[in-house]
Symmetry: C3
Subunit: 137 residues, 3 copies
Amino acid sequence: MQQSLTFQTPGRSTLDITAEVARVVADAGIDAGLCHVFVRHTSASLMICENADPDVRDDLERWLARAVVDGDPMFRHDTEGPDDMAAHVRSILTGMDLTIPVTGGALNLGTWQGVYLYEHRSAPHQREVVVTLSRAG
Amino acid sequence: MQQSLTFQTPGRSTLDITAEVARVVADAGIDAGLCHVFVRHTSASLMICENADPDVRDDLERWLARAVVDGDPMFRHDTEGPDDMAAHVRSILTGMDLTIPVTGGALNLGTWQGVYLYEHRSAPHQREVVVTLSRAG
Amino acid sequence: MQQSLTFQTPGRSTLDITAEVARVVADAGIDAGLCHVFVRHTSASLMICENADPDVRDDLERWLARAVVDGDPMFRHDTEGPDDMAAHVRSILTGMDLTIPVTGGALNLGTWQGVYLYEHRSAPHQREVVVTLSRAG
């Protein structure tokens, strides 16, 4: 009913983790309920995003990179590099937890929805994601 | 304990769905717990917003329209029009899932909180929202 | 399994409420599950943020203050002052609800994750936060 998943990221990028989350749901054997996904970090996030056209995630990355500028002279927290503070802001804007309905024993996502782990740091990182299932009713 | 609701939107706008969500809570007959609301799309979102002055949602719309510009030349994903990619970014920033406490058998919202479905596409759309109830404890 | 907490804020600032939320989790005595945290207001928010270097929250505040300008002439909703509408936008961007996994009877936060109540209004406010626990499975 609760599993911890570990992902190795190649640095700033989005990673489709829908299949890994769906496997935890299948293992749990719950018919109707909720699937909660949580990333135990403050410079990576979780989001639901369009899953058909990779341009969507590329465009989102460009939008975020312009809205939250790496090395912004306003940022004082830069001990780990120019992407450090930007990664915190990006994580807060896109969110560190997600809850998805479970219906008929499976994730009840829309056709074009995928679950993505978003690495906001430039360097590769190991990221831990906790998936928890709870029954409706 | 889980119901799917369908809403017809008139194009970009916010729709107060508090009463519809509250009705699912009343039907479920749970005293204390959680009410999860999820939109099965990537270009519409769910948010809690001030429910007394419509200017708040108008101001929010103006802020978002300036922050995420329709037809931004940086966006490559534009097959469905200039509002397509902006709708994805806006949905991610405002979020596609919400969880609200249930107390005494009802949604435990603050006095000024309403639950809104936010349509980010310019054209009218049919949007599906899944509401799931789970008991505390 | 559900408790309401009240916090007095000194005006715009972040308040670490991790210990208060953790106490509700300890009281509930649930081994594995979910801890949901909800703020019953539309001009304060809840977020998970880096908890080691206060510069992170200062930088975030500066970023938000520049992205969502108090007294923006575009805003019409200003009855309670120039920070009124900005507080609503900031709350929606950073979110009013959070769900955190409970593992081994405790909040399963990462080492650098803290739970913060973010007051977006300039004046001191009393804010109510509802914490709800639900069991996994």
